[in-house]
Symmetry: C2
Subunit: 208 residues, 2 copies
DNA sequence: GGCCGATCTACTCACTGTCAAGATGTACGG
DNA sequence: CCGTACATCTTGACAGTGAGTAGATCGGCC
């Protein structure tokens, strides 16, 4: 790790910032948000306890940067999906599956992402990435080439909000154990598509 | 859980358990889950730092008891709603509104409720109350006198899961700021009903 | 009265986040 | 080549936390 701009990794680490983000992610994954320790993250990066201060300020800053990076990764994955030429339901289903998959593969990170307001962490980029997630969902709903309303309160966005709410709610409830998603019963596995099928989605604006 | 038996609140507090729950709720409300302190809760109850140990074991036990009580309150409120004789959409709308209202009035508590798995807190009663919430929603969906399936994987429950997911997702997204619910725009205020209107809900089993 | 168990306190420990000061390296202008 | 400004990292300290252990205090019951 850290062979970039390595002028000599003795005292000046070179890119401590990303190294700290990585070790912090490791700690977070192992111990969860509740058991997270900034000192432990610094320890694993092979650096002193107060080294993070210069890069992130405090623990909120570290976790906030981690959450922001996570938002970017999630949005990247959602935007990278090949959605063209399918039915609306297929596109939404694919987006939903990706959303749930990301949450399942990054449980602690996913938890953190929706807890930043509790840390009074208000980063403009974080808000922007949340925005981006909604846009990705909306793009899947109305097709890639359709124009997107630039007003967040545009009534045309209601279906997107509905999909997001339903998928997000299912994800959190399932991760929390309120909905038993580990059940081998086929219903559990197909529950999300079944629920999405109950939604009246608008006809695609353009279908080529 | 006797109320008082207050033989004299000098050394033996009488009902320290509930007093601690109250002060813990106070601390939680003020500082959130992240800033919660068991010592502070004990302090406000006018008792030593390790007094909670005998009643709750550790901090997880205290928060768990708090969350369990919160689940009971939420379920009580949902079940107390007068739902008879209305349309399905009215009933679901009323339940949803109550759900959101509870979350808004008890933000920290509501957050805590869906975080207990992070604390490895597995209380049978807590699971039972989660169950109860689903039942309350399902009752609203199919009318009070309709029979409820006793299998959680019954396909007939899919609409209930869908409503729960959508409402819960909207609530958490709104509380987190991903959906701007403080917007004065009427859409924001009517967003939840508008989204619920997109759901294909089954015809009520019995309508009298 | 005298014991016993439940309840609460006092003390301790390892750990955490945060801060202030200082050490160490790098970059740059002379 | 030197030295000074700056970013970066370390050391040491502090208050606060959750969690144990031992002991004090009270009520009830024989």
């Amino acid at each position: 790790m850290g062979d970039e701009t390595t002028t000599g990794d003795h005292y000046h680490h070179g890119n401590l910032r990303t190294a700290l983000l990585d070790s912090a992610l490791e700690v977070l994954t192992e111990s969860g948000v509740a058991g997270f320790s900034m000192r432990e993250a610094a320890r694993r990066a092979g650096v002193s306890q107060s080294a993070p201060k210069h890069h992130f300020g405090d623990a909120r800053g570290l976790l906030g940067a981690l959450a922001t990076r996570a938002y970017r990764q999630l949005c990247d994955r959602l935007e990278a999906l090949e959605l063209d030429g399918h039915d609306v339901r297929d596109r939404v289903g694919a987006l939903a599956a990706e959303y749930v998959a990301f949450a399942g593969q990054n449980r602690a990170l996913f938890d953190l992402m929706w807890r930043m307001s509790q840390f009074d962490y208000t980063d403009p980029e974080l808000a922007e990435q949340k925005h981006r997630a909604l846009r990705a969902l909306d793009r899947g709903l109305r097709g890639g080439d359709a124009e997107l309303p630039d007003d967040d309160t545009d009534p045309a966005l209601v279906p997107s909000y509905a999909v997001w709410s339903l998928v997000h709610g299912y994800t959190t409830l399932a991760l929390e154990g309120a909905i038993d998603s580990s059940n081998p019963d086929p219903l559990a596995h197909d529950l999300l598509p079944a629920m999405l099928a109950l939604l009246n989605l608008p006809a695609p604006a353009s279908h080529s």
